[in-house]
């Protein structure tokens, strides 16, 4: 059975590119335009992994992730944080990775395979 990955990003280009890429790798991909949309879709869908932009309009990401209990989340971040902050973010229960934008496409696929299987 296909594994599902959810991409949450307000940038349409990122959603589209990563979706095409991961579908080519055999994943079922769903997308959400912001945190509120993500929470809405999680009522219906159960992805193995969420790739979530850390900086989006709407509900702050820190409040969105608090409401997601059982799904692994990897942050996609254009925001620069310190190493200590990165560790702090990765210390949260279901945060499993921190991917800095702009990211290398092949590296992203590798990390998704590792995290989602």
């Amino acid at each position: 059975m296909k594994k599902t990955v959810m991409i949450v990003d307000d940038e349409p280009d990122i959603r589209k590119t990563v979706k095409v890429l991961l579908e080519k790798e055999g994943y079922n991909v769903i997308t959400a335009v912001n945190g509120d949309d993500c929470l809405k879709k999680l009522k219906r869908d159960r992805p193995e992994l969420i790739l979530m932009d850390i900086m989006m309009p709407g509900l702050p990401v820190k409040d969105v992730v608090k409401q997601i209990k059982e799904t692994k989340i990897a942050y996609l971040s254009v925001v620069r944080v310190s190493e200590a902050e990165k560790e702090e973010l990765l210390g949260q229960p279901n945060i499993v990775d921190f991917i800095q934008k702009p990211f290398d496409i092949q590296e992203l696929v590798k990390r998704v395979k590792k995290l989602a299987g």
Partner: protein
């Protein structure tokens, strides 16, 4: 960076620096090294902690810099204020951002750095952003503080850059 920011700021009170993303960190460090005096640094794309790390690595004394950080609160539990930094809820909280900046402008800082206009558009539509920038530039013009606005040279934001360019005294494009 082929410009002398000190000269530019001696001739112009408000400057917009448009730069490619590849040289961004390099440029912000170089600008800061040239400024002598108190600086209010508004950050919309790096956390206070990450910026101070960057500046310390580049041997910039941060004692004369007060930060307004609109990022940290969006990603982690953050107090409203610490020594040297005032935290705003998000880059989209234009009113809160405006109040914080007003407060610092009243303290007669020598410089204010706004980093960057590009990030405002992630959270807000173009029109409120333009109004915010126009009102900010007017407030700066009523003070003795000199201002540097940063923006990334991205095609999608050409329009905002054009509009903002009309409010400031000088627009400088930094090439690679």
């Amino acid at each position: 960076m082929g410009i002398n920011i000190s000269t530019e700021l001696s001739e112009n009170q408000t400057v917009l620096l448009i730069m490619p993303s590849a040289d961004y960190n390099h440029n912000i460090v170089r600008v800061l090294k040239k400024l002598k005096g108190n600086v209010c640094y508004v950050t919309l794309n790096k956390t206070f902690e990450s910026l101070t790390d960057l500046f310390k690595k580049n041997k910039i004394n941060t004692e004369n810099i007060v930060f307004i950080d609109a990022i940290s609160k969006t990603i982690k539990q953050t107090p409203n204020q610490t020594d040297g930094c005032y935290f705003v809820s998000s880059p989209g909280s234009l009113t809160e951002l405006s109040i914080a900046i007003d407060k610092f402008l009243r303290h007669d800082f020598d410089y204010i750095i706004f980093d960057s206009l590009t990030n405002l558009l992630i959270y807000e539509r173009k029109t409120p952003v333009e109004k915010f920038v126009s009102s900010l530039v007017n407030k700066i013009k009523q003070s003795r503080t000199k201002a540097i606005f940063y923006a990334l040279s991205v095609k999608e934001q050409d329009e905002l850059i054009q509009e903002t360019g009309m409010f400031v005294d000088r627009v400088i494009y930094l090439s690679k």
